[in-house]
Symmetry: C2
Subunit: 358 residues, 2 copies
């Protein structure tokens, strides 16, 4: 079995030990005589798997007791609608820091007054604009941010202060990659397919006082209060994705948790940024204090050379390194499951390619 190093932005690489466990348990989980995929979501055996995954997530994310964790469907895009449908009564503030941040804001406009209080859109999303308490609208029901911008390779390096106004964060592309003080947020949500597990699962962490006043026309699937009441099982949840995500949480814990992986992620991203900054071929266009540790975009400035890089990298087992069409060039997505050996292999290839194409 030949495995490649997969730098895809999501769905993305998963930890090999997790895949090996899933493979081993595919036909019969423990002594149940059936695959996890075949289990009734109401059965005792599945509820154990579900609760084990929830508990492991609460531990690795250090979720305080006054927050609920929901395992839902629909991705972050679903929550782009669910957030305003649950919270927007008067007005909501959004920071426009990338493609998905923008999409979340546009979706919210369907449901009420939306203010764009900070934006780097006119600057090609190359930095994270500050948010200070005085920028928050007087009647804001919440402030929405996107903590890591997958396409542009930027991230918030500190949590904005929004006073009493709940902070809502889409953390799809950097959840569990660095320590986060959950108590600073009202709601955190994330699609699973980058740093949690397989696509099809959406994690929502919501403070106890926030659900309970969804719009009357909110689809019941998107009503957090109903989902809290039903322990995420208002209908059949994405059972198998939850099982695999649970294995990923336990894998992360076995490495030392988020604190430990944060150090590894610092080292992995520094390896690439240092190389880029010391190169005369590669360039990263993001303001240095806003660089993502999960998504490292870089260009040579020559589209043909970029294409050659992508092609030769793939031939060397370093795949899915093509940048998003909005940015071009290359992008190395190096989520938790990307081992440092993969990043080292990429760095070696980058150096070799630079030498050959100087």
């Amino acid at each position: 079995m030949d495995r490649v190093y997969n730098f895809a932005a999501g769905p993305a690489a998963l930890p090999l030990p997790v895949l090996e466990t899933a493979q081993k348990e595919m036909l019969a989980y423990g002594s149940t005589g059936m695959s996890v995929m075949e289990m009734s979501h109401r059965s005792k055996m599945y509820l154990e798997i579900f609760e084990r995954a929830q508990s492991a997530f609460r531990r690795v994310m250090n979720v305080p007791d006054n927050y609920k964790v929901l395992f839902l469907q629909g991705g972050a895009t679903g929550q782009f609608a669910a957030v305003p449908m649950n919270l927007l009564k008067t007005e909501a503030d959004y920071a426009d820091t990338g493609n998905f941040a923008h999409g979340a804001m546009v979706e919210a406009q369907k449901y009420g007054k939306v203010n764009c209080i900070a934006s780097s859109r006119d600057d090609g999303y190359t930095f994270i604009p500050d948010i200070t308490p005085d920028m928050v609208s007087e009647n804001a029901d919440y402030v929405h941010i996107t903590t890591n911008n997958t396409i542009f390779g930027t991230r918030y390096t500190s949590v904005p202060e929004t006073g009493k106004v709940p902070l809502v964060a889409d953390m799809s592309s950097n959840i569990l990659s660095e320590e986060v003080d959950v108590s600073k947020f009202g709601v955190i949500y994330a699609g699973a397919q980058k740093n949690i597990g397989p696509a099809g699962l959406t994690v929502v962490v919501v403070r106890d006082d926030l659900p309970g006043s969804a719009r009357p026309d909110c689809p019941k699937l998107f009503d957090w209060a109903l989902q809290v009441k039903n322990d995420s099982m208002l209908n059949t949840p994405p059972c198998y994705s939850i099982y695999v995500a649970g294995l990923c949480f336990e894998w992360l814990e076995s490495l030392g948790g988020v604190k430990a992986i944060e150090e590894i992620n610092k080292e992995k991203s520094a390896l690439l940024y240092d190389l880029i900054d010391n190169s005369s071929l590669y360039r990263n266009n993001v303001r240095k204090d806003c660089r993502s540790r999960m998504n490292v975009p870089f260009v040579t400035g020559d589209a043909d050379l970029d294409a050659k890089f992508v092609k030769e990298a793939a031939a060397n087992g370093l795949v899915n390194i093509k940048g998003h069409r909005l940015v071009g060039g290359m992008r190395a997505s190096i989520y938790n499951a990307m081992p440092i050996e993969g990043v080292r292999a990429l760095a070696e290839f980058m150096k070799k390619f630079e030498k050959e194409n100087a």
Copy 2:
């Protein structure tokens, strides 16, 4: 590896050859060097898997060219909202034939005028009430039915005539179990976890003229026109569930398709109904001409004896046979993936149990 016969109502048994293929391909699919779970949904390798699953579904379901097939998230419960959000302008007609049929109707009431034109609710949902063209409301935008009622074990044995008004059907629990003339429907939708594949995938088959006028406040995820335009990839789809569903469609095709499985399903269900009808211990409360071929509920009339049956059946490798709490007793869900050997084993056990407890 000891496998049981799993009579769960959903998520439910999957074909063993499908699980074996998924197991074999878990660490590396073909020559890609990665698991299907790790593939970018925009990558060539994944798009091939996606299109193969879509084509196989179109073939086994015999979907006409003027219908689109969408692979979405959110389950049938999501479509309970999506259907009215896309179609309800003036009024909509619903048939109330079970728990989920009722739930679909209640959800639709959030979005406009809803008429219950046929119901068996007052009779414990033990039969399917007729729908004739004269019962359809003059300004109905659509008529909604649930073709098989999982909890109560009933099914439509013919497609209601609704004239020019589109017929919308939740087929979650009997899709692909018998031949269906898709052209008689405007929309068919189904959660995957009964007769399609793993939970987390929702299939929507929609006639070309119907999407395109969703409510302005429809979450974009639920807007069929947007999903059609984006080939079901408005956001990351439930990639792995789609892959496994594709394997299930190809497995079904290898058996001879829906025509062939319909004969097997007739034989499987007849085996149980004949036994029940000729027994002095077991009873099925459904009107005979409305019996489901997928879900066979039965009771002894003695709750303690029912509990004993469930327990002893499980000890004999016949699991998840407890009836839904709304009905009590037992329920054997015998979807496509349940082999006739499993039904025979259950029948033998039923006879033995009757003898021992006469």
